[in-house]
Protein backbone atom coordinates (compact mmCIF):
# COMPACT_ATOMS: atom_id res chain seq x y z
CA UNK A 1 0.00 0.00 0.00
CA UNK A 2 1.26 3.43 -0.84
CA UNK A 3 0.86 6.41 1.37
CA UNK A 4 0.86 9.87 -0.11
CA UNK A 5 4.09 11.67 0.69
CA UNK A 6 4.73 15.38 0.50
CA UNK A 7 7.59 17.67 1.31
CA UNK A 8 7.38 20.44 3.90
CA UNK A 9 5.49 22.56 4.86
CA UNK A 10 3.14 19.86 6.14
CA UNK A 11 0.59 22.16 7.70
CA UNK A 12 -0.72 24.74 5.32
CA UNK A 13 -2.98 27.60 6.36
CA UNK A 14 -4.88 27.33 3.11
CA UNK A 15 -4.23 30.98 2.46
CA UNK A 16 -3.21 32.32 -0.89
CA UNK A 17 -1.82 35.71 -1.80
CA UNK A 18 -5.15 36.97 -3.09
CA UNK A 19 -6.96 35.90 0.11
CA UNK A 20 -4.41 37.71 2.27
CA UNK A 21 -4.56 40.82 0.12
CA UNK A 22 -8.36 40.79 0.07
CA UNK A 23 -8.40 40.77 3.87
CA UNK A 24 -5.93 43.66 3.98
CA UNK A 25 -8.19 45.61 1.63
CA UNK A 26 -11.23 44.82 3.80
CA UNK A 27 -9.34 45.96 6.88
CA UNK A 28 -8.49 49.22 5.16
CA UNK A 29 -12.17 50.03 4.53
CA UNK A 30 -13.00 51.62 7.94
CA UNK A 31 -9.90 53.84 7.87
CA UNK A 32 -10.57 54.80 4.27
CA UNK A 33 -14.19 55.72 5.04
CA UNK A 34 -12.97 57.83 7.96
CA UNK A 35 -10.47 59.58 5.69
CA UNK A 36 -13.31 60.18 3.21
CA UNK A 37 -15.53 61.54 5.98
CA UNK A 38 -12.93 64.03 7.16
CA UNK A 39 -11.15 64.96 3.93
CA UNK A 40 -13.77 64.52 1.25
CA UNK A 41 -13.64 63.32 -2.33
CA UNK A 42 -9.94 63.96 -2.82
CA UNK A 43 -9.18 60.79 -0.86
CA UNK A 44 -11.22 58.62 -3.23
CA UNK A 45 -9.71 60.24 -6.30
CA UNK A 46 -6.21 59.62 -4.95
CA UNK A 47 -6.99 55.95 -4.43
CA UNK A 48 -8.67 55.64 -7.84
CA UNK A 49 -5.81 57.33 -9.71
CA UNK A 50 -3.21 55.29 -7.85
CA UNK A 51 -5.05 52.03 -8.49
CA UNK A 52 -5.66 52.79 -12.15
CA UNK A 53 -2.07 53.75 -12.88
CA UNK A 54 -0.60 50.95 -10.75
CA UNK A 55 -2.73 48.24 -12.38
CA UNK A 56 -1.93 49.54 -15.86
CA UNK A 57 1.79 49.73 -15.05
CA UNK A 58 1.76 46.24 -13.56
CA UNK A 59 -0.01 44.83 -16.63
CA UNK A 60 2.41 46.56 -18.99
CA UNK A 61 5.52 45.42 -17.17
CA UNK A 62 4.24 41.86 -16.75
CA UNK A 63 3.70 41.72 -20.50
CA UNK A 64 7.22 43.08 -21.00
CA UNK A 65 8.63 40.46 -18.66
CA UNK A 66 6.54 37.75 -20.37
CA UNK A 67 4.76 36.79 -17.15
CA UNK A 68 1.08 35.79 -16.88
CA UNK A 69 -0.76 39.12 -16.70
CA UNK A 70 -4.25 38.14 -15.59
CA UNK A 71 -3.21 35.67 -12.90
CA UNK A 72 -0.68 38.04 -11.37
CA UNK A 73 -3.04 41.00 -11.37
CA UNK A 74 -5.64 38.84 -9.66
CA UNK A 75 -3.44 38.41 -6.59
CA UNK A 76 -4.47 41.98 -5.68
CA UNK A 77 -1.05 42.88 -4.28
CA UNK A 78 -0.78 45.81 -6.67
CA UNK A 79 -4.18 47.11 -5.51
CA UNK A 80 -3.02 47.03 -1.88
CA UNK A 81 0.14 48.95 -2.80
CA UNK A 82 -1.84 51.56 -4.72
CA UNK A 83 -4.49 51.89 -2.02
CA UNK A 84 -1.90 52.41 0.73
CA UNK A 85 -0.09 55.02 -1.35
CA UNK A 86 -3.39 56.76 -2.12
CA UNK A 87 -4.20 57.00 1.60
CA UNK A 88 -0.79 58.49 2.37
CA UNK A 89 -1.07 61.35 -0.16
CA UNK A 90 -2.68 64.72 0.56
CA UNK A 91 -6.26 64.86 -0.77
CA UNK A 92 -7.04 67.16 -3.73
CA UNK A 93 -3.45 66.93 -4.89
CA UNK A 94 -2.83 67.33 -8.65
CA UNK A 95 -3.48 64.07 -10.54
CA UNK A 96 0.12 63.57 -11.70
CA UNK A 97 1.36 63.23 -8.14
CA UNK A 98 -0.42 59.93 -7.32
CA UNK A 99 0.22 58.80 -10.90
CA UNK A 100 3.99 59.36 -10.64
CA UNK A 101 4.14 57.80 -7.18
CA UNK A 102 2.35 54.60 -8.13
CA UNK A 103 4.28 54.30 -11.39
CA UNK A 104 7.53 54.44 -9.44
CA UNK A 105 6.20 52.06 -6.77
CA UNK A 106 5.20 49.39 -9.28
CA UNK A 107 7.89 49.72 -11.94
CA UNK A 108 11.00 50.59 -9.94
CA UNK A 109 10.37 49.48 -6.37
CA UNK A 110 8.52 46.27 -7.26
CA UNK A 111 9.31 44.95 -10.72
CA UNK A 112 12.88 46.08 -11.25
CA UNK A 113 13.73 43.97 -8.22
CA UNK A 114 11.86 40.95 -9.54
CA UNK A 115 8.20 41.48 -8.66
CA UNK A 116 6.10 40.38 -5.69
CA UNK A 117 8.17 38.44 -3.19
CA UNK A 118 11.52 39.78 -4.38
CA UNK A 119 11.19 43.49 -3.64
CA UNK A 120 13.43 44.51 -0.73
CA UNK A 121 11.53 47.76 -0.17
CA UNK A 122 7.88 48.34 0.51
CA UNK A 123 6.64 49.64 -2.88
CA UNK A 124 4.01 52.00 -1.47
CA UNK A 125 6.53 53.64 0.85
CA UNK A 126 9.16 53.84 -1.90
CA UNK A 127 6.62 55.69 -4.05
CA UNK A 128 5.74 57.98 -1.14
CA UNK A 129 9.39 58.77 -0.41
CA UNK A 130 10.05 59.54 -4.09
CA UNK A 131 7.18 62.05 -3.98
CA UNK A 132 8.09 63.70 -0.68
CA UNK A 133 11.70 64.13 -1.74
CA UNK A 134 10.91 65.32 -5.25
CA UNK A 135 7.78 67.43 -4.68
CA UNK A 136 7.92 68.67 -1.09
CA UNK A 137 5.58 71.62 -1.75
CA UNK A 138 2.72 69.59 -3.22
CA UNK A 139 3.18 66.82 -0.66
CA UNK A 140 2.74 69.15 2.33
CA UNK A 141 -0.39 70.91 0.97
CA UNK A 142 -2.93 69.23 3.21
CA UNK A 143 -6.50 70.33 3.56
CA UNK A 144 -8.40 70.90 6.79
CA UNK A 145 -10.48 68.01 8.18
CA UNK A 146 -14.23 68.52 7.81
CA UNK A 147 -14.69 69.27 11.52
CA UNK A 148 -12.61 72.43 11.03
CA UNK A 149 -13.22 73.28 7.38
CA UNK A 150 -15.45 76.20 6.44
CA UNK A 151 -16.09 74.92 2.93
CA UNK A 152 -16.12 71.48 1.39
CA UNK A 153 -15.79 70.59 -2.26
CA UNK A 154 -18.34 68.34 -3.89
CA UNK A 155 -17.39 65.36 -6.09
CA UNK A 156 -17.31 67.31 -9.36
CA UNK A 157 -15.54 70.36 -7.94
CA UNK A 158 -12.93 68.07 -6.41
CA UNK A 159 -12.48 66.22 -9.69
CA UNK A 160 -12.01 69.49 -11.53
CA UNK A 161 -9.41 70.65 -9.01
CA UNK A 162 -7.50 67.37 -9.19
CA UNK A 163 -7.23 67.47 -12.97
CA UNK A 164 -7.05 71.18 -13.76
CA UNK A 165 -6.13 72.88 -10.48
CA UNK A 166 -9.15 75.19 -10.83
CA UNK A 167 -11.18 75.92 -7.70
CA UNK A 168 -14.84 77.02 -7.75
CA UNK A 169 -15.57 80.77 -8.22
CA UNK A 170 -14.55 82.94 -5.30
CA UNK A 171 -12.78 80.22 -3.37
CA UNK A 172 -9.09 80.42 -2.55
CA UNK A 173 -6.93 77.45 -1.68
CA UNK A 174 -6.19 79.04 1.71
CA UNK A 175 -9.82 78.55 2.73
CA UNK A 176 -9.38 74.78 2.32
CA UNK A 177 -5.77 74.35 3.38
CA UNK A 178 -4.48 73.47 6.79
CA UNK A 179 -1.18 72.13 8.00
CA UNK A 180 -1.16 68.61 9.40
CA UNK A 181 -0.85 68.28 13.19
CA UNK A 182 2.72 66.97 12.87
CA UNK A 183 3.65 69.84 10.58
CA UNK A 184 2.11 72.41 12.93
CA UNK A 185 3.83 70.89 15.93
CA UNK A 186 7.14 70.95 14.13
CA UNK A 187 7.01 74.52 12.81
CA UNK A 188 5.64 75.93 16.07
CA UNK A 189 8.32 74.16 18.11
CA UNK A 190 10.93 75.63 15.77
CA UNK A 191 9.43 79.04 16.61
CA UNK A 192 10.28 78.31 20.27
CA UNK A 193 6.70 77.95 21.44
CA UNK A 194 5.91 75.44 24.15
CA UNK A 195 3.57 72.50 23.65
CA UNK A 196 1.05 74.06 26.03
CA UNK A 197 0.85 77.20 23.89
CA UNK A 198 0.65 75.19 20.67
CA UNK A 199 -2.21 73.12 22.00
CA UNK A 200 -4.43 76.14 22.60
CA UNK A 201 -5.15 76.17 18.84
CA UNK A 202 -8.56 74.73 17.79
CA UNK A 203 -6.65 72.29 15.58
CA UNK A 204 -6.13 69.91 18.48
CA UNK A 205 -8.37 67.20 19.84
CA UNK A 206 -7.76 64.95 22.81
CA UNK A 207 -4.68 63.12 21.51
CA UNK A 208 -3.66 64.40 18.11
CA UNK A 209 -5.23 66.75 15.60
CA UNK A 210 -9.03 66.91 15.49
CA UNK A 211 -10.26 64.47 12.89
CA UNK A 212 -6.88 62.84 12.58
CA UNK A 213 -7.14 60.98 15.88
CA UNK A 214 -10.43 59.42 14.77
CA UNK A 215 -8.95 58.27 11.50
CA UNK A 216 -6.22 56.66 13.60
CA UNK A 217 -8.87 54.84 15.64
CA UNK A 218 -10.48 53.36 12.54
CA UNK A 219 -7.13 52.21 11.18
CA UNK A 220 -6.50 50.65 14.58
CA UNK A 221 -9.81 48.79 14.32
CA UNK A 222 -8.95 47.41 10.88
CA UNK A 223 -5.44 46.59 12.03
CA UNK A 224 -6.62 44.69 15.09
CA UNK A 225 -8.94 42.66 12.86
CA UNK A 226 -5.95 41.80 10.65
CA UNK A 227 -3.99 40.70 13.70
CA UNK A 228 -6.96 38.64 14.91
CA UNK A 229 -7.22 37.00 11.47
CA UNK A 230 -3.46 36.36 11.73
CA UNK A 231 -2.84 38.10 8.43
CA UNK A 232 -0.52 40.51 10.20
CA UNK A 233 1.91 39.37 12.90
CA UNK A 234 1.06 41.17 16.17
CA UNK A 235 4.76 41.50 17.04
CA UNK A 236 5.47 44.12 14.38
CA UNK A 237 2.78 46.67 15.35
CA UNK A 238 3.41 45.91 19.03
CA UNK A 239 7.13 46.53 18.61
CA UNK A 240 6.53 49.64 16.49
CA UNK A 241 3.96 51.32 18.74
CA UNK A 242 5.66 50.06 21.92
CA UNK A 243 8.99 51.57 20.98
CA UNK A 244 7.35 54.80 19.78
CA UNK A 245 5.44 55.17 23.08
CA UNK A 246 8.45 54.19 25.17
CA UNK A 247 10.91 56.63 23.66
CA UNK A 248 8.42 59.49 23.43
CA UNK A 249 7.47 58.91 27.11
CA UNK A 250 11.11 59.25 28.13
CA UNK A 251 11.49 62.53 26.28
CA UNK A 252 8.06 63.78 27.37
CA UNK A 253 8.87 63.18 31.03
CA UNK A 254 12.27 64.80 30.65
CA UNK A 255 10.98 67.93 28.92
CA UNK A 256 7.20 68.21 28.40
CA UNK A 257 7.53 71.70 26.89
CA UNK A 258 9.34 70.66 23.74
CA UNK A 259 8.31 67.00 23.35
CA UNK A 260 4.66 66.14 22.72
CA UNK A 261 3.05 63.42 24.84
CA UNK A 262 3.19 59.82 23.59
CA UNK A 263 -0.44 59.54 22.45
CA UNK A 264 0.16 62.43 20.06
CA UNK A 265 2.85 60.43 18.32
CA UNK A 266 0.64 57.36 18.02
CA UNK A 267 -2.43 59.20 16.74
CA UNK A 268 -0.67 61.54 14.31
CA UNK A 269 0.63 61.09 10.82
CA UNK A 270 1.16 57.59 9.53
CA UNK A 271 1.91 55.79 12.79
CA UNK A 272 -1.19 53.56 13.03
CA UNK A 273 -1.55 53.00 9.28
CA UNK A 274 2.16 52.25 9.15
CA UNK A 275 2.21 49.95 12.16
CA UNK A 276 -0.61 47.66 11.06
CA UNK A 277 -0.67 47.87 7.27
CA UNK A 278 2.74 48.95 6.00
CA UNK A 279 5.35 47.59 8.40
CA UNK A 280 3.60 44.21 8.38
CA UNK A 281 4.12 43.66 4.63
CA UNK A 282 5.26 40.01 4.66
CA UNK A 283 7.70 40.50 1.77
CA UNK A 284 9.76 43.35 3.17
CA UNK A 285 9.48 42.74 6.94
CA UNK A 286 11.75 40.57 9.03
CA UNK A 287 10.44 37.02 9.17
CA UNK A 288 11.65 35.47 12.43
CA UNK A 289 9.56 36.02 15.61
CA UNK A 290 12.38 37.73 17.50
CA UNK A 291 13.42 39.59 14.37
CA UNK A 292 9.92 41.02 14.03
CA UNK A 293 10.13 42.59 17.48
CA UNK A 294 13.46 44.19 16.56
CA UNK A 295 12.17 45.24 13.14
CA UNK A 296 9.02 46.84 14.57
CA UNK A 297 10.88 48.54 17.41
CA UNK A 298 13.45 49.89 14.94
CA UNK A 299 10.71 51.52 12.89
CA UNK A 300 9.18 53.03 16.03
CA UNK A 301 12.51 54.47 17.21
CA UNK A 302 13.45 55.82 13.80
CA UNK A 303 9.99 57.37 13.36
CA UNK A 304 10.43 59.24 16.62
CA UNK A 305 13.98 60.31 15.75
CA UNK A 306 12.95 61.64 12.33
CA UNK A 307 9.89 63.41 13.73
CA UNK A 308 11.83 65.00 16.58
CA UNK A 309 15.08 65.95 14.89
CA UNK A 310 14.71 65.20 11.18
CA UNK A 311 13.99 67.48 8.26
CA UNK A 312 10.51 66.08 7.53
CA UNK A 313 7.38 66.31 9.71
CA UNK A 314 6.62 62.58 9.53
CA UNK A 315 9.15 59.78 9.51
CA UNK A 316 7.15 56.56 9.11
CA UNK A 317 7.96 56.09 5.42
CA UNK A 318 11.67 56.68 5.86
CA UNK A 319 11.76 54.49 8.97
CA UNK A 320 10.02 51.64 7.13
CA UNK A 321 12.45 51.82 4.19
CA UNK A 322 15.49 51.94 6.50
CA UNK A 323 14.30 48.90 8.43
CA UNK A 324 13.43 47.11 5.17
CA UNK A 325 17.12 47.47 4.38
CA UNK A 326 18.04 46.00 7.75
CA UNK A 327 15.51 43.13 7.62
CA UNK A 328 17.80 40.49 6.01
CA UNK A 329 20.51 41.17 8.60
CA UNK A 330 17.98 41.01 11.44
CA UNK A 331 16.73 37.68 10.09
CA UNK A 332 20.28 36.36 9.88
CA UNK A 333 21.05 37.12 13.51
CA UNK A 334 17.70 36.01 14.95
CA UNK A 335 17.33 32.63 13.25
CA UNK A 336 15.55 30.32 15.66
CA UNK A 337 17.23 27.09 16.68
CA UNK A 338 16.02 24.25 14.50
CA UNK A 339 14.66 21.29 16.45
CA UNK A 340 17.46 18.77 16.94
CA UNK A 341 20.25 21.26 16.27
CA UNK A 342 22.40 22.92 18.89
CA UNK A 343 22.47 26.48 17.53
CA UNK A 344 20.89 28.39 14.66
CA UNK A 345 22.75 27.74 11.44
CA UNK A 346 24.32 24.61 12.88
CA UNK A 347 23.96 21.90 10.27
CA UNK A 348 25.35 19.05 12.41
CA UNK A 349 22.63 17.28 14.39
Amino acid sequence: MRFPTASSPFVHGGGAVDRVMLQVLLALVPGTLAMFWYFGWGVLYNILICTGVAVAAEAAILRLRRRPVRATLADLSVVVTAWLLGLALPPLTPWWLPAAGSLFAVVVAKHLFGGLGYNPFNPAMAGYVLLIISFPTEMTHWIAPSVLAEVRLGPLESLRHVFTGVLPEGLAWDALASATPLDTMRTQLLMNRTIEEIRTSPLWGDFGGRGWEWIGNWYLLGGLWLVWRRVADWRIPAGFLGALVAISTVFYLADPDTHPFPAFHVFSGGALLGAFFIATDPVTAASTPRGRWIYGAGIGLLTFVIRAWGGYPDGVAFAVLLMNMAAPTIDYFTRPRTYGHRSPGDLEP
Binding site: W96, A100, V108, L112, L130, I133, S134, F135, P136
Partner: protein, 229 residues
Protein backbone atom coordinates in the same frame (compact mmCIF):
# COMPACT_ATOMS: atom_id res chain seq x y z
CA UNK B 1 42.77 52.56 -40.08
CA UNK B 2 43.91 49.10 -39.21
CA UNK B 3 42.04 46.49 -37.29
CA UNK B 4 43.92 47.10 -34.03
CA UNK B 5 42.78 50.72 -33.83
CA UNK B 6 39.25 49.85 -34.88
CA UNK B 7 39.15 47.25 -32.13
CA UNK B 8 40.45 49.77 -29.57
CA UNK B 9 37.83 52.32 -30.52
CA UNK B 10 34.92 49.91 -30.41
CA UNK B 11 36.14 48.59 -27.06
CA UNK B 12 36.44 52.08 -25.56
CA UNK B 13 33.18 53.45 -26.88
CA UNK B 14 30.91 50.48 -26.45
CA UNK B 15 32.03 46.89 -25.81
CA UNK B 16 34.27 47.64 -22.84
CA UNK B 17 32.99 51.08 -21.89
CA UNK B 18 34.59 52.32 -18.66
CA UNK B 19 31.32 53.22 -16.96
CA UNK B 20 28.78 50.87 -18.55
CA UNK B 21 30.82 47.65 -18.59
CA UNK B 22 33.86 48.01 -16.34
CA UNK B 23 31.87 50.07 -13.80
CA UNK B 24 35.00 52.04 -12.98
CA UNK B 25 35.20 55.70 -12.02
CA UNK B 26 31.68 55.61 -10.60
CA UNK B 27 32.34 58.24 -7.93
CA UNK B 28 32.74 61.18 -10.34
CA UNK B 29 30.27 59.58 -12.72
CA UNK B 30 27.55 59.59 -10.09
CA UNK B 31 28.52 62.83 -8.36
CA UNK B 32 28.83 65.39 -11.16
CA UNK B 33 26.30 64.24 -13.74
CA UNK B 34 23.45 66.46 -12.58
CA UNK B 35 23.67 68.43 -15.84
CA UNK B 36 24.93 67.54 -19.30
CA UNK B 37 27.50 70.37 -19.26
CA UNK B 38 28.99 69.28 -15.92
CA UNK B 39 29.27 65.76 -17.29
CA UNK B 40 30.95 67.00 -20.43
CA UNK B 41 33.41 69.13 -18.44
CA UNK B 42 34.52 66.33 -16.16
CA UNK B 43 34.51 63.88 -19.07
CA UNK B 44 36.86 66.05 -21.11
CA UNK B 45 39.19 66.53 -18.12
CA UNK B 46 39.28 62.76 -17.61
CA UNK B 47 39.84 62.22 -21.35
CA UNK B 48 42.85 64.54 -21.28
CA UNK B 49 44.33 62.86 -18.20
CA UNK B 50 43.75 59.43 -19.68
CA UNK B 51 45.53 60.25 -22.96
CA UNK B 52 48.43 62.00 -21.19
CA UNK B 53 48.95 59.19 -18.68
CA UNK B 54 48.60 56.44 -21.29
CA UNK B 55 51.17 58.11 -23.57
CA UNK B 56 53.65 58.73 -20.74
CA UNK B 57 53.31 55.29 -19.21
CA UNK B 58 53.72 53.67 -22.61
CA UNK B 59 56.79 55.82 -23.43
CA UNK B 60 58.62 54.89 -20.23
CA UNK B 61 57.43 51.26 -20.11
CA UNK B 62 60.89 49.81 -20.91
CA UNK B 63 62.57 51.54 -17.94
CA UNK B 64 59.89 50.97 -15.31
CA UNK B 65 60.36 47.65 -13.54
CA UNK B 66 57.24 45.85 -12.33
CA UNK B 67 58.22 46.44 -8.69
CA UNK B 68 57.92 50.20 -8.89
CA UNK B 69 55.27 50.52 -11.59
CA UNK B 70 52.36 51.53 -9.34
CA UNK B 71 54.13 54.56 -7.73
CA UNK B 72 55.27 55.62 -11.20
CA UNK B 73 51.73 55.37 -12.60
CA UNK B 74 50.37 57.36 -9.68
CA UNK B 75 53.01 60.07 -10.10
CA UNK B 76 52.32 60.34 -13.83
CA UNK B 77 48.54 60.51 -13.32
CA UNK B 78 48.84 63.00 -10.46
CA UNK B 79 51.02 65.29 -12.59
CA UNK B 80 48.52 65.21 -15.44
CA UNK B 81 45.63 65.89 -13.06
CA UNK B 82 47.48 68.78 -11.43
CA UNK B 83 48.15 70.26 -14.83
CA UNK B 84 44.53 70.07 -15.92
CA UNK B 85 43.32 71.36 -12.58
CA UNK B 86 45.50 74.45 -12.95
CA UNK B 87 44.37 74.90 -16.55
CA UNK B 88 40.71 74.71 -15.54
CA UNK B 89 41.24 77.14 -12.67
CA UNK B 90 42.84 79.55 -15.13
CA UNK B 91 40.36 79.37 -18.02
CA UNK B 92 37.19 77.66 -16.87
CA UNK B 93 36.89 79.02 -13.36
CA UNK B 94 33.09 78.70 -13.10
CA UNK B 95 33.13 75.09 -14.20
CA UNK B 96 36.10 74.45 -11.93
CA UNK B 97 34.08 75.77 -8.99
CA UNK B 98 31.04 73.65 -9.85
CA UNK B 99 33.04 70.43 -10.25
CA UNK B 100 35.02 71.24 -7.10
CA UNK B 101 36.74 68.31 -5.46
CA UNK B 102 35.96 65.98 -8.36
CA UNK B 103 38.66 67.48 -10.58
CA UNK B 104 41.56 66.60 -8.21
CA UNK B 105 39.78 63.32 -7.50
CA UNK B 106 40.40 62.23 -11.10
CA UNK B 107 43.69 60.95 -9.64
CA UNK B 108 41.76 58.24 -7.85
CA UNK B 109 39.68 57.28 -10.90
CA UNK B 110 40.46 53.57 -11.19
CA UNK B 111 39.74 53.67 -14.90
CA UNK B 112 42.94 55.64 -15.51
CA UNK B 113 45.32 53.49 -13.50
CA UNK B 114 43.49 50.48 -14.89
CA UNK B 115 44.29 51.46 -18.48
CA UNK B 116 47.90 52.25 -17.53
CA UNK B 117 48.32 48.84 -15.93
CA UNK B 118 46.39 46.68 -18.37
CA UNK B 119 47.13 48.38 -21.68
CA UNK B 120 49.56 51.32 -21.83
CA UNK B 121 52.39 49.58 -19.93
CA UNK B 122 52.40 46.74 -22.50
CA UNK B 123 51.84 48.52 -25.81
CA UNK B 124 53.57 51.10 -28.00
CA UNK B 125 52.78 54.80 -27.74
CA UNK B 126 50.38 55.26 -30.73
CA UNK B 127 48.14 52.39 -29.66
CA UNK B 128 48.22 53.59 -26.04
CA UNK B 129 47.20 57.07 -27.16
CA UNK B 130 44.26 55.73 -29.19
CA UNK B 131 43.24 53.51 -26.28
CA UNK B 132 43.24 56.52 -23.95
CA UNK B 133 41.28 58.55 -26.47
CA UNK B 134 38.69 55.83 -27.02
CA UNK B 135 38.24 54.98 -23.34
CA UNK B 136 38.06 58.67 -22.45
CA UNK B 137 35.55 59.34 -25.21
CA UNK B 138 33.38 56.44 -24.06
CA UNK B 139 33.46 57.74 -20.49
CA UNK B 140 32.71 61.31 -21.63
CA UNK B 141 29.80 60.15 -23.77
CA UNK B 142 28.32 58.25 -20.82
CA UNK B 143 28.73 61.28 -18.53
CA UNK B 144 27.00 63.53 -21.05
CA UNK B 145 24.11 61.13 -21.68
CA UNK B 146 23.57 60.51 -17.97
CA UNK B 147 23.86 64.23 -17.24
CA UNK B 148 21.38 65.09 -19.99
CA UNK B 149 18.95 62.46 -18.74
CA UNK B 150 19.07 63.70 -15.16
CA UNK B 151 18.92 67.35 -16.21
CA UNK B 152 15.90 66.65 -18.38
CA UNK B 153 14.05 64.87 -15.60
CA UNK B 154 15.13 67.22 -12.84
CA UNK B 155 15.05 70.67 -14.45
CA UNK B 156 13.20 70.05 -17.71
CA UNK B 157 16.08 71.63 -19.63
CA UNK B 158 19.11 70.65 -21.67
CA UNK B 159 22.53 72.34 -21.81
CA UNK B 160 21.83 74.70 -18.92
CA UNK B 161 24.89 76.58 -17.66
CA UNK B 162 26.66 75.93 -20.97
CA UNK B 163 28.51 79.24 -20.44
CA UNK B 164 30.63 77.52 -17.77
CA UNK B 165 32.31 75.47 -20.46
CA UNK B 166 31.83 77.41 -23.69
CA UNK B 167 32.08 81.03 -22.58
CA UNK B 168 29.43 83.71 -22.03
CA UNK B 169 28.18 83.43 -25.63
CA UNK B 170 26.78 80.00 -24.80
CA UNK B 171 24.42 81.24 -22.08
CA UNK B 172 21.45 81.12 -24.48
CA UNK B 173 22.12 77.50 -25.52
CA UNK B 174 19.80 76.32 -22.78
CA UNK B 175 16.87 74.42 -24.27
CA UNK B 176 13.76 74.34 -22.13
CA UNK B 177 11.99 71.11 -22.95
CA UNK B 178 9.16 71.60 -20.52
CA UNK B 179 8.67 74.82 -18.60
CA UNK B 180 7.70 75.20 -14.97
CA UNK B 181 9.32 74.11 -11.75
CA UNK B 182 7.77 70.67 -11.37
CA UNK B 183 11.01 68.82 -12.06
CA UNK B 184 11.61 65.42 -10.52
CA UNK B 185 14.00 66.60 -7.82
CA UNK B 186 15.09 63.03 -7.09
CA UNK B 187 16.74 62.82 -10.51
CA UNK B 188 19.29 65.52 -9.72
CA UNK B 189 19.89 64.22 -6.20
CA UNK B 190 22.42 61.39 -5.75
CA UNK B 191 19.82 58.55 -5.95
CA UNK B 192 18.89 59.78 -9.42
CA UNK B 193 22.43 59.02 -10.58
CA UNK B 194 22.12 55.40 -9.48
CA UNK B 195 18.73 55.00 -11.14
CA UNK B 196 20.01 56.68 -14.29
CA UNK B 197 23.17 54.60 -14.53
CA UNK B 198 21.23 51.39 -13.86
CA UNK B 199 18.80 52.31 -16.62
CA UNK B 200 21.60 53.03 -19.10
CA UNK B 201 23.36 49.74 -18.29
CA UNK B 202 20.07 47.92 -18.77
CA UNK B 203 19.50 49.63 -22.12
CA UNK B 204 23.02 48.69 -23.25
CA UNK B 205 22.45 45.08 -22.26
CA UNK B 206 19.14 45.00 -24.12
CA UNK B 207 20.79 46.39 -27.26
CA UNK B 208 23.64 43.86 -26.98
CA UNK B 209 21.22 40.99 -26.46
CA UNK B 210 19.13 42.06 -29.47
CA UNK B 211 22.27 42.28 -31.57
CA UNK B 212 23.53 38.90 -30.42
CA UNK B 213 20.11 37.44 -31.15
CA UNK B 214 20.11 38.87 -34.65
CA UNK B 215 23.66 37.66 -35.31
CA UNK B 216 22.77 34.18 -34.07
CA UNK B 217 19.52 33.96 -36.01
CA UNK B 218 20.83 32.98 -39.48
CA UNK B 219 22.87 30.18 -37.91
CA UNK B 220 19.97 28.99 -35.79
CA UNK B 221 17.54 29.26 -38.68
CA UNK B 222 19.61 27.09 -40.98
CA UNK B 223 18.87 23.66 -39.47
CA UNK B 224 15.18 24.53 -39.30
CA UNK B 225 14.98 25.41 -42.98
CA UNK B 226 17.31 22.64 -44.13
CA UNK B 227 14.79 19.74 -44.08
CA UNK B 228 12.21 21.66 -46.10
CA UNK B 229 14.76 22.81 -48.65
Amino acid sequence: MNAEYRHLISEGLWNNNVGLVQLLGLCPLLAVTNTAVNGLGLGLATLFVLVASNVTVSAVRRWVTPEIRIPVFVLVIASAVTAIELLMAAWLYDLYRVLGIFVPLIVTNCAIIGRAESYASRNPVPQAAVDGLAMGAGFTALLVVLGALRELAGHGTLLREAQFLFGTGAAHWKITVWPGDHGLLLAILPPGAFFGLGLLIAIKNVIDARRAGRAAQPVAAQPATAPTA
